[in-house]
């Protein structure tokens, strides 16, 4: 069942098109990583999902219902932006009380239980806390609100490694137990790789790729091989990227490991090894295919 759907969503800011007929589908219970280069439209997409922005065209749906200005739907969504905002002078407790009144599923008991997980003085004004501590407070409130959909924009920036792991652990617990859906936008692909099960790659306001991680990793393979002298690669290989170091060649190919081996075997390689791609590699090579390759500059 699809929890979040963006159907042909277009958003323009003046003459700039931030989202260009964007289609996106986040299944229920998924941890969906929204990735893309700077200016691809990730934050704009997230702001549509949280109901802040109204699309110029298209639909933004939660369980099939429009999100914008739909109070019952928005009660199911909680968002942590890259820099959380709090009322001036408010403490964590103040914000907890306000959040408790605004979100019907807010769990005061859980808030108390999470007090041990987050090392914060809840009576201290939030403006006096460090950036990381403010982020902790945001997660504390978010997890206490028990949303059905948690939207995160650069969620763990500012958190120390221990707290990052702690936070992700708590989130994954909710995903496992409550089937909470998580839509997360981040540039930290190494971290996302550990937690996400779905990926959507945005480029220039459009979604150029949307798959489950397993599917993605199964459909692209990295091959390291050495061919006999004078031998050439067979024609028609689905190569995404190729590099050479002496006789050793590294190829990124579309397809499974078996398919890649079968395609290369006629060339008689003296050495052939296949490896799964990391999320970061997929990101880089996929965007390389749409003119966003790493430029080899000589300075």
């Amino acid at each position: 069942m699809n929890m979040i759907e963006l159907k042909a969503v277009t958003k323009r800011f003046g003459k700039a098109t931030a989202l260009d007929a964007l289609d996106l589908t986040v299944p229920q219970g998924a941890v969906y990583a929204l990735i893309g280069p700077n200016g691809a439209g990730k934050t704009t997409a997230i702001r549509h999902v949280t109901g802040m922005l109204r699309p110029d065209a298209g639909e933004v749906l939660l369980s099939g219902e429009p999100i914008f200005e739909n109070v019952p739907v928005k009660e199911r969504i909680y968002c942590i932006p890259d820099e959380p905002w709090y009322f001036p002078m408010a403490t964590t407790r103040d914000m907890m009380e306000f959040t408790g009144r605004m979100y019907p599923r807010f769990d005061a008991l859980r808030y108390k239980r999470l007090r041990d997980a987050f090392v914060l003085d809840e009576n201290r004004p939030l403006r006096r806390l460090s950036r990381g501590q403010k982020k902790q407070a945001a997660f504390w409130l978010a997890l206490s609100a028990r949303p059905e959909v948690l939207v995160l924009d650069e969620p763990v920036d500012g958190l120390d490694p221990v707290m990052r792991r702690q936070v992700w652990s708590l989130i994954m617990e909710d995903v496992a137990e409550d089937e909470m859906t998580v839509l997360v936008s981040s540039h930290n692909l190494r971290e996302l790789e550990d937690v996400c099960d779905h990926v959507g790659i945005l480029q220039k306001g459009r979604c150029i790729l949307e798959k489950s991680v397993a599917e993605l990793q199964g459909s692209t393979v990295k091959v390291v091989l050495a061919l006999p002298e004078g031998a050439a690669l067979p024609d028609g290989l689905p190569i995404l990227h190729r590099s050479e170091a002496g006789r050793l060649q590294t190829l990124i190919l579309r397809g499974t490991e078996a398919e890649a081996a079968a395609l290369l075997r006629p060339a008689g390689p003296v050495f052939l090894e296949t490896q799964p791609l990391t999320l970061e590699e997929i990101f880089i090579y996929e965007l390389g295919g749409v003119d966003y390759a790493v430029k080899e500059l000589l300075l």
Partner: protein, 766 residues
């Protein structure tokens, strides 16, 4: 109450009250301070009951405080609309935007109300409400509530229109003052461009309530005082409690307008793209209008500055603009429009690189501006030359500064046609007037004011022209505007006609009859004749009521029948001596009734040698030139720098006269020169006549009665006032001459105020 589709959310409302409550005690403190500083103050020297005094101050100074408090409150409660992060947070909350907006609005309004009520409560604890009528207090609370609605509604709307918290006060101020600013600018520029345009009624100031309530003296208008009741009540209780509040219709309309603006804000909040938080203009539609508005504001501002600072144009009775001046004005307006247009582009695009585009719109604006200015200057619509249909004119009021006040109202058809003919001749001489750039109005020129009315008293046309009919204009030596050949030449069409008109039987009859009281042996109070030479009284004589009745009945009336007394001379050939302030004048005061029903009036007119009976009667009683006089110093010498603190307006005039004017050195005409020079002095210091009027009223109403300094000053003013108001050619009689820019109502109000203040001083009750 849970918010699903509701337009109100109690959770947001409560949160807003908790978050923004600090504004409330701050506002309460300011309100209280204002109440305490006005506590026990009198109005025109009359003590009022606490509730009446409070109502009066609420309408005047209180309205301004509420205006400011509403703006500050809007900045506080809608602060979430102006920052990307807070806007994003609010927009993500499961509450409809209308509900958030209205809940914050309700919180802001409650805090404003609470501040006012708290101030009232604290004021009561200090004893400030002692003796106040409960119904009167409820009336004050109702007025405060309506003012809160009036000002907080537009403030809320402004918060939707802009996305920048620093711009909000500016937008709010523009919103509040736009009507009066636009009208004032348009009037000034129109008066500069349209020959003779003057005296138009202010039509749109009512749309700027903060200005209307505070500056236009509307407390008097809204609280109508019956003076007879005042004195009757004052005699028994020493406290004024009788004043009819006429302000409900106006305030209810204002309140409805406030609700309307709030509703408009609610309708627009949903359309306000939240990503525009931080932008100067938050609504996409307004972004297109903003440069046009800014260009208009820039054009008017620089246009006005040019008029005031370069042309020294003060709006009324000034020489209107020659074509070269108009072109300079147009250039300044285009420069102002340029600044406004591209300034707006810079604010919208957040860059100084704005000259790469949008020239097309600016060119269109300039084309329209040029068409309007040049079209008006060239009188495309024919409004300059428009004359009323003689058949429709029932009366015409003619007032020229040299003939003196009051204006003569002609009702006979033949005279009305003469006035129209005179105006036609003035219009034909337009070029001469417009080129009289260096004319000194006080010395060389005068004003010819014409007001045509129909049989219902409605004004058909009002025009005023600067004319070289003043004293200096009679001499040709070094004077380009002289009437003996240099400027008009011997064929000057205006002066002879005007002189003939002012000496018609109808004019003379009106000059020798008081306006409000019938002439009888019982109404004449006394008589006073004086002879001036070079503006100095060289001889005077007083008569009893019986003597004056004899003079009036047996000499003045027959002479008037023959057209030899109370005549006016405008042409130099007739009597060059008058141009140098040499003449004989007869002043006769009248009164009728006693106590509360007493009414006073007066007449004064010139006595010339041809008035045989009148002159003979005076000579018989020994009226002749005697004694010697000292030379009166020039006004420029009299305006010394020794006075460091000048009271505002006419009170300031009176005080300065008292402090520096030597009555032994000069006569009452000298006093007139004094006041005229003082008015010019005020104008030269950036004060226009309307401003002087406002300040005079403010002084008369609000000066602290308990201050010892005030007592002393009032005593001084009383002396000066008596000197100027009871003399034979005193200030009151020449009110029209010295306050030419004021309407009749304004003049009456100021003089009533001064008279009331003087009366209070005479009784030693402040």
């Amino acid at each position: 109450m849970r918010s699903k589709n509701s337009c109100f959310d109690i959770r947001i409302f409560g949160n807003a009250l908790r978050r923004y409550w600090p504004v409330y005690p701050a506002a309460a403190g300011v309100y209280l301070y204002d109440m305490l500083t006005r506590r026990g103050s009198s109005w025109y020297g009359i003590m009022e009951t606490a509730d009446l005094s409070l109502l009066r101050s609420t309408l005047s100074s209180g309205s301004r405080l509420i205006f400011i408090a509403a703006g500050v409150m809007a900045m506080a409660v809608y602060s979430w609309l102006f920052f990307q992060r807070s806007t994003a947070y609010a927009a993500a909350l499961p509450v409809r935007r209308e509900a958030q907006y209205l809940s914050h609005m309700a919180a802001g309004f409650v805090l404003l109300e609470a501040a006012a009520l708290m101030a009232l409560l604290l004021f009561a604890l200090t004893g400030g409400l002692r003796g106040a009528a409960p119904a009167g207090l409820l009336r004050v609370v109702a007025v405060i509530t309506l003012l809160n609605v009036l000002f907080f509604g537009p403030a809320s709307l402004c918060a939707v229109l802009t996305g920048n918290i620093l711009i909000l006060p500016a937008v709010y101020a523009v919103f509040a003052y736009a009507a009066v600013a636009l009208e004032a600018s348009a009037r000034w520029i129109a008066q500069f461009l349209v020959f003779g345009l003057s005296g138009q009624r202010w039509l749109f100031t009512i749309l700027s309530p903060v200005y209307y309530l505070r500056n236009a003296g509307q407390a008097d208008f809204l609280l109508e005082t019956n003076w007879q009741e005042v004195y009757r009540g004052y005699a028994t209780s020493n406290v004024l409690s009788l004043a009819a509040f006429r302000g409900w219709p106006l305030l209810l309309c204002y309140g409805a307008a406030g609700v309307l603006f709030a509703a408009l804000g609610t309708a627009l909040i949903r359309r306000r793209p939240m990503e525009n938080a931080g932008n100067v203009v938050a609504l996409p539609g307004l972004r297109r209008l903003f440069p046009w508005g800014a260009a208009l504001a820039g054009a008017l501002t620089l246009g006005l500055l040019t008029l005031k600072q370069i042309f020294r144009f003060s709006g009324y009775l000034n020489v209107t603009g020659s074509f070269s001046k108009v072109m300079l004005l147009l250039l300044a307006m285009i420069l102002g429009a340029f600044t406004g247009w591209f300034g707006a582009q810079g604010l919208l695009r957040k860059t100084l690189r704005v000259f790469d585009r949008s020239w097309g719109g600016f060119a269109v604006f300039c084309a329209v501006l040029c068409a309007l200015v040049l079209g008006t200057e060239l009188d495309v619509t024919g409004s300059e030359k428009r004359l009323p249909d003689a058949e429709r004119v029932a009366s015409v009021s003619v007032w020229d500064t040299y003939a003196g006040a009051p204006a003569t109202v002609f009702e006979e058809p033949e005279n009305i046609r003469s006035v129209l003919e005179i105006q036609r001749h003035v219009l034909e001489s337009k070029e001469l007037f417009e080129n009289a750039a260096g004319m000194d109005l006080s010395a060389q020129g005068g004003a010819l004011s014409l007001v045509y009315c129909d049989e219902n008293g409605r004004t058909l046309l009002s025009r005023a022209y600067v004319a070289p009919i003043g004293a200096m204009a009679w001499s040709s030596a070094g004077n380009a505007y002289a009437t003996d050949g240099n400027a008009f030449g011997s064929a000057n069409p205006v002066l002879p006609e005007l002189e003939r008109l002012m000496n018609t039987p109808e004019a003379i009859r009106k000059r020798i009859l008081p306006r409000y009281i019938a002439v009888s042996p019982y109404t004449i109070q006394a008589g006073y004749v004086y002879r001036m030479e070079d503006y100095v009284t060289v001889e005077d004589l007083q008569f009893t009521a019986a003597e004056t009745w004899e003079l009036y009945n047996q000499c003045v009336l027959p002479d008037a029948e023959e057209g030899t007394v109370a005549t006016t001379r405008l042409c130099p050939a007739d009597d060059p001596g008058e141009s140098r302030g040499t003449f004989t004048e007869l002043f006769i005061p009248f009164s009728i009734g006693y106590g509360d029903d007493a009414m006073a009036d007066y007449i004064y007119f010139m006595v010339r040698p041809e008035a045989a009976r009148t002159v003979a009667w005076l000579v018989e009683r020994g009226f002749a030139v005697t004694g010697t006089v000292r030379a009166e110093p020039e006004p420029s010498e009299i305006i010394s720098e020794s006075v460091t603190v000048v009271l505002p307006g006419l009170a300031g005039l009176l005080e300065k006269v008292y402090l520096e004017y030597d009555p032994a050195a000069a006569g009452t005409v000298g006093a007139l020169r004094w006041t005229r020079s003082m008015l010019e002095w005020y104008s030269a210091n950036g004060e226009d006549p309307f401003r002087v009027y406002e300040e005079a009223k403010l002084f008369a109403r609000t000066y602290d009665a308990e201050a010892g300094e005030f007592r002393q000053r009032m005593e001084q003013l009383r002396t000066a006032g008596i000197r100027l108001t009871t003399g034979s050619a005193g200030l009151v009689q020449d009110r029209g001459r010295n306050t030419g820019a004021w309407t009749e109502d304004m003049v009456g109000e100021v003089f009533d105020a001064i008279a009331a203040g003087l009366a209070a001083a005479e009784r030693n009750d402040y």
